[in-house]
Amino acid sequence: MLEFMEGSHAVAEIVKRCRPQVIAAYPITPQTHIVEDLAQMVANCEIDAEYITVESEFSALSACLGASAAGSRVYSATTSQGLALMFEVCFNAAGMRQPIVMTIANRSLGAPLSIWNDQQDSISLRDSGWLQFYAEDNQEAADLHMIAYRVCEDHDILLPAFVCFDGFILSHTYEPVALPSQEEVDAYLPAFTPYQRLDAANPLSFGMYATPEYYTEFRYEIDRALYRAKDAFARAGREFGEQFGRDYSALVEGYRLEDADTALVAMGSICGTAKDAIDEMREHGRKVGLLKIRTYRPFPAPEIVDALKGVSTVAVLDKNISLGNGGAVGTEVKSALYGSGAAVYDYIIALGGRDVRKRDIAAVVDLAEKGKGDMFYGLRTEVL
């Protein structure tokens, strides 16, 4: 049954039903409503969790890391500068193979200071070993949390995950969302069974140093686990579909790609606007489609190649910039499509909250079809 609510509230409600045992977070715009809601739920005894108040994001994720190592299901949420402050702990959490789930209400990084949305924050942690899932709408944002716990806690995976949804654009938007009941969530997501945990009676050390004889093999194991996460995600997404009717088995999802000459590639909420723009372009006989990337890590390179077979022009919408080398998603899509014959162009768009309209999507398609790309879209040259 659909209910009308704010995106942040939908996330908090679903996190509650995932029964985390420890929550530690530090409030930061636009993530704030999620952790306020969860703090209230803990205070009201609606959720049997320890809510650890901390003085910084570094401490928030450190507390989560310790609690996870002790065998608890844990949760955090952050964004932007908060995630930047967690940088060191992020690498440690993946390296120690702790299945932490953290919501990222995507926001730009300073300086200059901006509270508005782009995806620079999570993209900048792409090499940390965390799985990264991106939601197009608030239903998907809520659902991906359940899938994330399933994938992360799988003993063949044991990695942390970001569930990314666009700050403000989704987090502060009210729209209909179907929330599964506690019983339904329990049926999908069993209690956390740690593979190993801190136990005074059976001492273990986590995050010890590895000499040159071992370090490479540790990194290799993490890398392999990320690749295995593709199948785990597909399985968890398919089973989610069987139980709830919304299938997330696809790591990438095509929209009107069947006969498309030109394909947009994007992640997150911009996909919704792109779909509406594509419908309008299709009415004018333009053969345009969209490929939505749901899992940025692991990166679905073969899936992208497969989905874009027959497409001659590809336009990647990047809500981030790897300064000095173009957009991060575009770079990886180009790498995946190397040798395919398709012309792949990258567009830096919607940084720091700049609004994207249907006509902007159409303008990008026009540029790509004219062979103009690898550029900032909509640059205000008059202020340069």
């Binding site: 009308f4 502060h172 009210y174 729209e175 996909c271 606007t273 909250g353 994207v356 249907k358």
Partner: protein
Amino acid sequence: MRELRIHGRGGQGSVTAAELIAFAAFEGGVYAQAFPAFGVERRGAPVQAFVRFSDEKIRLRSQIYEPDYIIVQDPTLIGDVDVFMGMEAGGIAIVNTEKPDFDARVPKGVKVYAIDATTIALEELGVPITNTTLMGAFAAATGEIKLEPLEHALRNRFSGSMADKNVKAAERAYNQIGGAA
């Protein structure tokens, strides 16, 4: 799909109005989406909030540039802000003003409903917060939301005598515009 843009000043409850109108529309059986023009909110500064209504799931995420409807909470905004921007013939504007003959360049074919929501709010609520009053006017002028789900939305948001007062303010505006619409 129909689109509403609400113009107000920080502190006047424009974002709440968007939420409650969208909630009432959803309760009435359509898809709805409500969101603010995200910013660093300051009391008194011009703000906007947006609502979309559709019979199908809403995917579009851009702000609203060509609204079918506008609500103007504060008459002093007219002049500071081009509240009618992007409106076309057939559009409907609900403007809170004491002076129905206010000076503004209204696009041709846009129907303006002027209502003294401040007086209604002061009499019913005791404060010049006009958002709930203007929701009643919006319901009567556009038919996008019915009075019953609007009352439900208000009672869902407010409790006790505050709920009664807000419902009464909305009803008064609904009836006042209802005669004109």
